[in-house]
Every structure is written in structure tokens, then in C-alpha cells.
């Protein structure tokens, strides 16, 4: 049974688009009109009840019902098969430790990045390779957009009102990738976090846009790691003072060189913890020195300060196509922790295929 308010508009696409924009219900791009028929098809792709509530979404604290999320998923252009991923991502970002209340309102340019692992990524065509953070893939584009529209419409994240990002960033339109598990020489993210390889998951982190890490020349781990250390030890990122779980997204070619030289994720983390550091003199002279929770409390005697509080707090994934680039994604800081959840049925059973989620 539908609880959503019904609105009668002139049956003219331009008029419908104008109405949604004027009401502040879009990200600025045209939407797919959420008719009852389209919303019903979206809802048929999950065994959740339309009235099921996933929680309250701050800072407006709107009730995130399955039906409301389906309406936003329709508007974003999702096919029904994508809907279980949207549901899992919203469940993840409503966990208290993600601190969506702060992530939505902050002046910092961050957004919930959705990383999909497991077999559903390929089934749904979620891109993990060339242009993984870019345009061109319907699943990446519309799953990420559905989440943004829910953040606007349910969470109240209107720019300059409840979303106070000073600059924002292009990734606030859509921010969804899959991990390139086939070319990952180590365990994929979800397996590292305790899930079976055949379980599909979403992981959410409050990330900035990807920052490029370019080294086309080095053929050894030494060269690549030196380049990464130098690029990520940056005083202007939140992580330099507020820590949290920044993400190193290695391109497959960089990952392959590191693996060939005997590096696994643990060894990379330890290396970057030790060597990607900001000299204390510089660290104390600028910015956010002295903020509660900052490194002075954790590393009072260090001559140089790390970019994450413990080696294991660095998240490492592999994604992207051919080419000698990786990317670094600074995050909001320790005020927001990453969350991994299975893409599952209503009873929590992980979905092996999105077809399983459909109502019979």
C-alpha cells in the first residue's frame, strides 16, 4: 500500500521537469517522472515492503521508507535490478558510525562513495575498469544518483540550506564504483572485511573526489611507493589532522608491480603509515593543529605525522583500467567511519542474483 503523496501535473514533460526543479527536488538534471507504474516496477525488484523504514535521514530527518527510495531511484533513472544496491547503500549510510548528519551538512567537499564488491557488480554492469569514476555506465551513474536524490529529498541536503559544502564537487552528482576484483592481486575489500567472496556487498565512505597518483615510469615498488607517499602527505586534507579511513585506489598496473615485489595490503599500509608523513614543524605551523582528536594526542613524540592513525585504517582497493595511474581519496575524517553491508533480501540473506529479490 502506497503512503506517498500523489501530485497531479499537466501531462507535459517540460512542465513536469519544471515542477520538480522549482520544488528543489532534483540535482539540477532532468529526472524520470516517478509515476505509480514506474515506482511499482521498482518496488517489485525487492522483497522489502514499501512501508519498511530504513531509518531517519539527517539533517532533515526524513523517514527513509522503501517506497520513498524507490521514487528517488525512478527519478535517477535506475533500472529495477539496481534497486537492491540502492537499498543496501542507504542502510549502510544510516548506520550511526557513518555520521550522515555531519557528512550532509559539512562545508567539506565529501559524499558517500559506494564501492560494490562480489558477483552482483558484474551482473548489474557496474563498471570497475576504464573510467571507473567517470561517465558512461548506467549502473554507476544512476545508482549513485539515486543516493544523491535521496540525500536531497529525504535528508534535506539542499545546497546552501542544509548542505553547506563550500565548494562541493562533481562526485556529488553520483559516486558509485565496483572494485576490479579480477585484477586485484590481493583479497578484495569485502573478503578482507569478513564476507565470503560470493557475497555481494556495498562499502560506503565519506570521500572527496579522486586525486590522481601518476607514475608511468617506475617499474619497482620503491618508485611507486615514493610517489604515493609524496602525493598523499598533504596538510590540506581532513585526514592530516582528523584521521579516519582514507582510500588508496590502486590502478591494476601499479597493484601488479607492488604484488610482484612482494607487497600485500598489510605491507603497503605499514609502509605508507611510516613514510607518508608531514614534518612536525610544518604540521604544527598550519591549519588545524590542536583540533580535538588531532595527531598531537596520538603521536606526541613523532618528528613527522602520519595520514592515518593506525596502518589498518587505510582502505586499499583496486579499480580502473590499463595505465599507470592510481587515485587517492581523502575522507571526512574520523568523525565518519566506513560501513560494509551485504546486498541482501529483507531477512538479511545475501542476494546471489538480483532476480532472487523479486516478489513472486
Amino acid at each position: 500500500m502506497s503512503d506517498a503523496r500523489r501530485i497531479a501535473l499537466d501531462d507535459d514533460l517540460d512542465a513536469i521537469e519544471d515542477w520538480f526543479h522549482e520544488q528543489g527536488l532534483t540535482d539540477g538534471l532532468p529526472i524520470v517522472p516517478p509515476t505509480s507504474e514506474r515506482v511499482a516496477r521498482m518496488l517489485a525488484a525487492t522483497d522489502f515492503e514499501p512501508s519498511d523504514e530504513l531509518g531517519l535521514m539527517g539533517p532533515k530527518w526524513g523517514v527513509a521508507t522503501i517506497e520513498t527510495l524507490a521514487i528517488n531511484a525512478v527519478m535517477a533513472g535506475c533500472t529495477p535490478a539496481y534497486f537492491p544496491v540502492v537499498i543496501a547503500a542507504i542502510q549502510a549510510m544510516l548506520e550511526e558510525k557513518f555520521n550522515l548528519y555531519a557528512v550532509q551538512a559539512t562545508t567539506h567537499p565529501c559524499a558517500p562513495l559506494v564501492i560494490v564488491n562480489g558477483p552482483l557488480a558484474a551482473e548489474l554492469g557496474i563498471n570497475a575498469r576504464y573510467n571507473v569514476f567517470g561517465q558512461g555506465f548506467r549502473a554507476n551513474a544512476t545508482i549513485g544518483r539515486a543516493i544523491r536524490l535521496a540525500l536531497i529529498n529525504v535528508g534535506g541536503g539542499a545546497p546552501g540550506v542544509l548542505d553547506r559544502a563550500t565548494h562541493g564537487m562533481p562526485s556529488k552528482y553520483s559516486f558509485c564504483i565496483a572494485e576490479n576484483e579480477e585484477e586485484n592481486p590481493w583479497q578484495p575489500l569485502h573478503v578482507e572485511r569478513g564476507f565470503a567472496p560470493e557475497v555481494s556487498t556495498v562499502t560506503i565512505g565519506a570521500c572527496e573526489n579522486p586525486h590522481n597518483l601518476n607514475d608511468h615510469i617506475s617499474n619497482t615498488s620503491d618508485g611507486i611507493l615514493t610517489m604515493i607517499c609524496s602525493s598523499i602527505a598533504a596538510i590540506g586534507t581532513n585526514n592530516a589532522y582528523l584521521y579516519g579511513e582514507p582510500i588508496l585506489c590502486l590502478g591494476p598496473e601499479h597493484a601488479s608491480i607492488l604484488a610482484r615485489d612482494g607487497y600485500d595490503k598489510t605491507k603497503i599500509r605499514r609502509h605508507l603509515f611510516e613514510h607518508a608523513r608531514i614534518p612536525r614543524v610544518q604540521w604544527q605551523s598550519a591549519g588545524m593543529f590542536g583540533m580535538p582528536g588531532s595527531g598531537n594526542n596520538h603521536f606526541p613524540d613523532a618528528d613527522a605525522l602520519p595520514m592515518f592513525r593506525k596502518p589498518e585504517y587505510l582502505m586499499i582497493i583496486v579499480a580502473g583500467g590499463a595505465g599507470r595511474h592510481s587515485v587517492w581519496l581523502p575522507t571526512f575524517g574520523a568523525g565518519s567511519r566506513s560501513v560494509t553491508r551485504p546486498i541482501a533480501r529483507r531477512d538479511g540473506t545475501p542476494l546471489r542474483s538480483t532476480a532472487e529479490a523479486r516478489r513472486v
Binding site: 527513509a64 574520523a334 568523525g335
Partner: protein, 218 residues
């Protein structure tokens, strides 16, 4: 023209209204909490206000605590703040720090502790909108011109002087009067900004269009 029916994508709101804490009108010889999120000049502003409160009603015990800007007050210090007769919390001069400083003030009011949220006029509409969403739309805000972060000490002092009497009133006046006074404030600015950018129309800015008229020291 034929019509088409579409569904509303906005989440329903389920707000439980909470009243402000009762004020008994007394602050002298009590304990007052000062909660700083260590944003630039936040602690200095609190210290200046403490000095001005001493001038106005003599002795009280001041206790200071710090917290992260993007997280709630830690439980151990919250317990200490619950022993206070009043709490001042700040600084709400960015997005996530406004959210969580406001949250702390709402929690304290709900526990019966009169509280003041110190915020800048730029972020007052955010604080007001969030206080409405949390069911405490009459939460008093002590508003100073934005920004605070780059102010020199004498400018911080001037801003403290401009809100000291208001803070005394917030902590001592009848709760229902305060609710009626503060509930309508800062809405218009937020609504204006939906349509056009940044025309300052709230009471603070009308009173002082220069953004505080803070003059450099002679």
C-alpha cells in the same frame, strides 16, 4: 491538457516536539559549562563571554570542555555538563560543527539544562532548520557576524560584548517567552537563499548591515 500523477520523493517528517528547559532565573553562585569544539577563536569567545557574565552577576564556577567539531560531546563530559545550571556551546560556524553543536544544545535542553548555541549569522539558518527538524524550533541562538575564525582578539571581544546581555536573557528568561521570541527568527534568510543568493534579512543583519561594525583597535 490531460494530467499525470507523480509520487512525492520527499521523506515524511516525524518530529516530536520538545520544550525548552525551565529557567529559574538564577545564575550567580552556580556552575556554568563552556563547551568548545576548538574551531578558531571558539574558546576565546567563550572566555570573553565568561568574563562578561562575571561582570554581570558575580561569582559562578566555570567548567570548560573540548569536543571534536563533527561529533557529539563525549559521554563523560556530557555527564559533567549535566551538573551545570547552564551551558554555552560553540562554535557553529561551519556545516558539521553547527549540526553537532546544535545537537548537544538540544540534548542538554532536553535534560533540563538551559543552553545557548553560539553561531554565526551565516550558519544561523542551518541551526534553525536543524532545530526545527529535531523538534526544538525555539532553541535560542546567540548570533554573531560571520566569520569568527579570522578575527583578532579585540574583534572577538567586541562580538562577545554584543551578545552578552542576550545570553543572560536566554539563560534566565521564561522558557515559553524564549520559544516565542526565537522560533520565528532566521527562517526568512534560509527561504530567501533558496531563490536568490545571500541577501541578509534576519534580525542580526538588519541591526548591523556592516556585519558587526567591528572596528580595529585605535
Amino acid at each position: 491538457m490531460q494530467t499525470i500523477e507523480v509520487l512525492d520523493p520527499r521523506g515524511a517528517l516525524r518530529v516530536t516536539e520538545q520544550p525548552l528547559a525551565n529557567r529559574n532565573g538564577k545564575l550567580a553562585r552556580t556552575r556554568i559549562g563552556f563547551l568548545s569544539n576548538k574551531k578558531a577563536n571558539a574558546t576565546l569567545l567563550l572566555q570573553e563571554i565568561e568574563r562578561l557574565l562575571h561582570e554581570r552577576f558575580g561569582d559562578f564556577e566555570a567548567i570548560y570542555g573540548e569536543k571534536g567539531a563533527a561529533v557529539p560531546v563525549p559521554p563523560e563530559f556530557l555527564a559533567e555538563l549535566e551538573t551545570c545550571s547552564a551551558v554555552l556551546t560553540g562554535m557553529a560556524d561551519c556545516g558539521s560543527c553547527t549540526s553537532w553543536s546544535l545537537h548537544d544544545a538540544v540534548v542538554l535542553e532536553g535534560k533540563g539544562i538551559p543552553s545557548v548555541l553560539l553561531c554565526t549569522d551565516e550558519f544561523a539558518p542551518l541551526a534553525r532548520a536543524e532545530s526545527v527538524a529535531k523538534g526544538m524550533g525555539g532553541l535560542p541562538l546567540a548570533v554573531i557576524p560571520h566569520p569568527l575564525a579570522d578575527n583578532r582578539p579585540h574583534e572577538v571581544r567586541t562580538k562577545a560584548e554584543r551578545i552578552a546581555d542576550e545570553i543572560v536573557a536566554i539563560l534566565t528568561r521564561d522558557a515559553s517567552e524564549l520559544d516565542a521570541q526565537y522560533r520565528p527568527l532566521y527562517h526568512r534568510l534560509a527561504q530567501t537563499r533558496l531563490k536568490q543568493s545571500a541577501t541578509c534579512v534576519d534580525d542580526v543583519c538588519i541591526a548591523d548591515p556592516s556585519g558587526g561594525a567591528v572596528q580595529p583597535a585605535a
